[in-house]
Amino acid sequence: MSNTIHDMGGMHGFGPVEPEPNEPVFHAEWEGRVLAMQRAMGYTRLWSIDGGRASMETLPPLTYLGSSYYRRWFLGLEKRLVAHGLVGEDEIAAGKSLRAGRGLNRKLTPADVPNTIRRGNYERPAPAAARFKVSDRVKTRNINPETHTRLPRYARGKLGTIEVVRGCHVYPDTAAIGAGDDPQWLYTVVFSGRELWGEAADPSISVSIEAFEPYLEPA
């Protein structure tokens, strides 16, 4: 969902950043298994990367904040498996399979793994010309959809400048709800710190987001 707890930019009160010296790749064996199951089930193409994000964003706020990163991944994966009819809630409760699985379009084999470690390409052929060009002044829209979006709250209704045109990409707002790729032009839009945070902000700071064309209007 849009205005949920995951949208953290500009919030106060979470305390200092605490790097962990010599941090291991995984802090427990189960974390690696969760990551691997997530990748393997993502390979079936039953949902998009943004569908996956949306299932975590819609966890109850206290669950989201009280869970480690991989616990959120696990809870989101469980939710998605049930929502897509791949696993029954009774099976989750029982901790074992009670029925045969349904057929999948494709299943990840060890031979496919190298290709899943490498990132996929989200660029798509452009259905129309780009509306904006480098150096154009734009204003981000003040949108508050109840479904998934990648326009953070802190950057809504703000004046910025197109810095780079990144090509035409899968639109997260539709892909997340199973409404297709609906490719949209993607831009790097840069804002001054003062535009985002007010006159008291440090003038030597600027922030950019990667903004899809529907997030923007001419300024």
């Binding site: 995951h6 953290m8 930019g9 500009g10 919030m11 979470f14 200092p16 950043v17 605490e18 962990e20 790749v25 995984f26 802090h27 189960w30 298994r33 990551l35 691997a36 199951m37 990748r39 393997a40 990367i49 904040l65 009280g66 869970s67 480690s68 990163y69 616990r71 696990f74 994966l77 498996l81 791949l86 696993v87 099976e91 901790g95 999948l104 299943k107 990840l108 060890p110 470690i117 490498r118 990132r119 996929g120 989200y122 660029e123 990648r150 953070p152 802190y154 950057a155 990144r166 990409h169 790097t188 985002l196 030597s204 700071i205 600027s206 922030v207 950019s208 990667e210 903004a211 899809f212």
Partner: protein
């Protein structure tokens, strides 16, 4: 709620065992239903632990420091440039290199989740995924740099990149002074993960010498 990892630790050890049991149960369900092959899962975990990681990014940065043509290509199309090296783990679409200069220091965050250039930096550390970093990086980057002990000249502008799409960012830090004539391999030893996220700076030759000196 200091950060994700702490809350997880503070769940009095029971979360670990509870999570271990739940994750094992889910894997057995998915395996029994024929959805996943445990051998493929093993390989993914192994790749995360051995193949991807900041050693890849460090090689890319070191090459950019010694080879101006490569640096130019890297800044134009980092995916293509990284893959042209042949000795880093394959890099997928839309890697973007950001060059630090005396005028501008780049720092990368994902305020909405934890997007991170896995292939070149490995899985993100807990602090990068934590609420403190995700909330503050876009508003108080200098405070964060101070917490990381990274000192920048006061006139340096800070540019924060919020990874809100499927583009991924790799910071190319400035080459430390006192490294004239160093080989690519030597230079790569100076390139830290944090310097490629923008929360830190590369090591100095003196730091490396100190580390070598403390080895038994």
């Amino acid at each position: 709620m200091a950060d994700d990892h702490h809350s997880h630790d503070h769940d009095h050890g029971s979360e670990l065992s509870e999570m271990q049991l739940r994750v094992r149960a889910l894997e057995s369900i998915l395996t029994a239903k024929g959805y996943v092959d445990p051998a493929a899962l093993d390989q993914i975990v192994e790749a995360c632990e051995t193949k991807i990681g900041p050693h890849n990014g460090a090689r890319i940065v070191a090459r950019a420091w010694v080879d101006p043509d490569f640096k130019k290509r890297l800044l134009q199309d980092a995916t293509e440039a990284a893959n042209s090296l042949g000795y880093v783990s394959p890099v997928g679409a839309h890697l973007i290199a950001l060059e630090n200069t005396p005028k501008t220091h780049h720092m990368v965050v994902c305020t909405l989740c934890s997007c991170y250039p896995w292939e070149v930096l490995g899985l993100p550390p807990v602090w990068y995924k934590s609420a403190p970093y995700r909330s503050r990086a876009v508003m108080d980057p200098k405070g964060i740099l101070a917490e990381f002990g990274a000192k920048l000249p006061s006139e340096t502008e800070i540019r924060i990149w919020d990874s809100t799409a499927e583009t991924r960012f790799l910071v190319v830090p400035m080459r430390p002074e006192g490294t004239d004539g160093w080989s690519e391999e030597q230079l790569a030893q100076l390139v830290t993960r944090d310097s490629m996220v923008g929360t830190g700076l590369p090591k100095s030759p003196a730091e490396i010498a100190g580390e070598a000196g403390t080895k038994p």
